[in-house]
Amino acid sequence: SQQGEEDPQALSIQEGENATMNCSYKTSINNLQWYRQNSGRGLVHLILIRSNEREKHSGRLRVTLDTSKKSSSLLITASRAADTASYFCATAFGSGGGADGLTFGKGTHLIIQP
């Protein structure tokens, strides 16, 4: 079964607005990652936050992690039409040594209206 639950499942906002997506998970994790998928193609890694981190920034992206609530959020500021995509959170259970597959959340489909 899927580890993560994401909400909202779909989000439509105006260009320039901020978009926030949430992810919850069920078990202990080593890290939590966010990916973007355009039109059902390959996934692009956006950002990784480790279990001992609470917040991380990368450009217009801000990720938070609350391990006590087993939840994470992805904020995209000043959205652009090119941000239209599906966004997935994913968790890794192992030591982070690259030997573990990921468990994905259900994803949020983000539409940026021009």
């Binding site: 996934l43 690259g98 030997a99 597959g101 990921l102």
Partner: protein
């Protein structure tokens, strides 16, 4: 980080036939991962392929249906056998970037339609 070449990018196949998907990585990697993404759904891990040993399959996936080869540290194949329309999905391969602590790189996916 690694670059993955995955092919074919898409295919339409007759039920009962098999399709082999290939992933070539531009650097040596220990583990390669195969995922399935059913229409409108998220990704589900099929199996982990380690060079020199049998692939490890997740619950609900079996070797007879999804045989995997890993002949060397830069290449892997996934075969979808005896296909039915329910196998219509996007199949993706993936490798860890460096140690995995920097995320994973994915192939561009194979969109399979079974008719």
């Amino acid at each position: 980080s690694a670059v993955i070449s995955q092919k074919p990018s898409r295919d339409i196949c007759q039920r009962g036939t098999s399709l082999t998907i290939q992933c070539q990585v531009d650097s040596q990697v220990t583990m390669m991962f195969w995922y399935r993404q059913q229409p409108g759904q998220s990704l589900t891990l099929i199996a982990t392929a380690n060079q020199g040993s049998e692939a490890t399959y997740e619950s609900g996936f079996v070797i007879d249906k999804f045989p995997i080869s890993r002949p060397n540290l830069t290449f892997s194949t996934l075969t979808v056998s005896n296909m039915s329309p329910e196998d219509s999905s996007i199949y993706l391969c993936s490798v860890a970037r460096q140690t995995g602590s920097y995320g994973y790189t994915f192939g561009s996916g194979t969109r399979l339609t079974v008719v």
